[in-house]
């Protein structure tokens, strides 16, 4: 078989049959209690959260929710979160911090929702605040990029101590189609843009943007949810175990140092 291209990964990452947040919850967690609302305006369905148990670990789960049915897709904007989603995430994360519980985030979004109300309620501010908030949050955060890591909407819940990425997931500053439209002036050049942007897990690991790649079953995670989720569970528990060994000062210092090192090519 020919070598997988970046665009092949984009297609796999967007495959509707790929495991989504509810599948990860089903296979990783022995229980999950969703909590709703940002206490300001809304309960966004594109980003959901709740307390859960994975193995022996009690923790908070946050994740983009694409939905499994057409109704769910519409309600959740296909995982494109509104500002209310990011504000809910921060509210719940604050609770996790208060009770010294770690956080695991599942990232799978085409991007933050580009809508009129989203702008009016401060999409930019919500993402910005979230980046600052998670950088300083006093509890361990493990991030799993499971499908589409779409730009700022993904990054808003992807600042953490350990960033895991599934083998066929992608993570990019802009969608290949968007980039092709701007720099190639031709949306059909998305495969070229995808290759140029370096958005696959191995490329991102080389660039230092992620820490670890989680292997998927042969052919991709969509072929075997159970096996794909089992690999994620093992990786998450291992990451939590490592992070537990650090005291809070070390944890925060390491998190900041990692962020600081990103793209610092300069003397």
């Amino acid at each position: 078989m020919a070598k997988k291209t970046a665009m092949d990964c984009v297609k796999l990452a967007r495959d509707p049959k790929r495991p989504h947040l509810k599948d990860f919850i089903k296979y990783l967690c022995s229980d999950f209690e969703e909590l709703h609302g940002d206490r300001l305006a809304n309960d966004d369905r594109g980003l959901i959260g709740g307390f859960a148990t994975i193995g022996k670990e009690k923790l908070l789960i946050l994740g983009h929710h694409k939905g499994a049915t057409v109704e769910e897709n519409m309600e959740a904007n296909f995982g494109m979160a509104n500002p209310d989603g990011y504000r809910k995430a921060m509210r719940l994360a604050k609770l996790a911090e208060k009770f010294h519980l770690p956080i695991v985030t599942f990232v799978d979004t085409p991007g933050a929702y580009p809508g009129r109300e989203a702008e009016e309620r401060g999409q930019a501010e919500a993402i910005a605040k979230s980046l600052e908030f998670f950088a300083l949050l006093k509890t361990p955060v493990v991030v799993v990029i499971t499908g589409e890591g779409g730009s700022g909407g993904a990054l808003a819940i992807a600042v953490g101590d350990k960033v895991l990425m599934m083998e066929n997931a992608v993570y990019s500053v802009i969608s290949p189609e968007g980039c092709a439209g701007i720099l190639w002036r031709d949306g059909t050049k998305a495969p070229e843009a995808a290759a140029a942007l370096k958005i696959t897990a191995p490329d991102l690991k080389k660039l230092g943007a992620i820490d670890e790649i989680v292997k998927e079953p042969a052919g991709g995670a969509q072929k075997d949810h159970k096996a794909a989720c089992a690999a994620v569970k093992t990786a998450v528990l291992k990451a939590l175990e490592e992070l537990k060994k650090l005291d809070l000062d070390e944890l925060l210092e390491k998190r900041y140092d990692k962020l600081r090192a990103l793209g610092n090519f300069y003397k």
Partner: protein, 276 residues
Amino acid sequence: MSWFVAKSEKPKIPPAKALWAICPKCKSHFEKAAWKKNNAICPKCNYHGRLSARERIAQVADEGTFAEVFRAVSYSDHLAFHDATGPYKAKVEATIAKSGETESVVMGTCEIGGHPAMLGVMDFAFMGGSLGTGTGERIARACEQAIRERRPLVLFSASGGARMHEGILSLMQMAKTSAAIGYLKEAGLPYISVLTDPTTGGVSASYAMLGDINITEPKALIGFAGRRVIENTIHQKLPADFQSAEYLEKHGFIDKIVERKDLKAFIAKMLNYWGF
């Protein structure tokens, strides 16, 4: 033979842009010199047009106090990025040669109305003010130096967003700068963010929206997603003032719209209130 074949020669009309300064908001035409003399502010609709980083610094920093830092921190072509119009490296080098700047933000220490500050000014003419690794690095270093020297941070944004030519690491600058600003604020230092026309995408969704106060100039464009992207998503026309400074103020994301002529005094006044 050619003596009777009259060549159809159209009189050459130079494009309007070469002769006139055209206000991008109200489309009124002005003589270029008049536009410049009015400090790039539209005499008709009061739109506050774009300034270069150097022009802005000259208007905000006390005379003779600005000392540039981190000039050696420039762009990085770690992806060897190449699109339909050529290599990124060629584009950015041409920008450097033309502008004399080495990144999209110019950073330095200065005094503003007698108050010591760390001042950063983005230049939209440098790759659309895009946030590259060099931009993010300068801002993060500025925060760290500001903490060491107990200086307030004043940052003027003007940007289309993250610089896609630098791939994922340009996105990561959003996280890096926001973390550095978080620690600056934790150290009890003020951060005044001035969002100038235009501040959008990854820059509005990171450091530009994180000011202890966020201020802007009349009619500046500020937003996350582009107008056309939103219209295509929701299949609706958006109001004319959508994503304008006035619209953002109405919705609660801007502390104050300040006229250009009053900006320096306003910043100094705030620093004075806060004891800096």
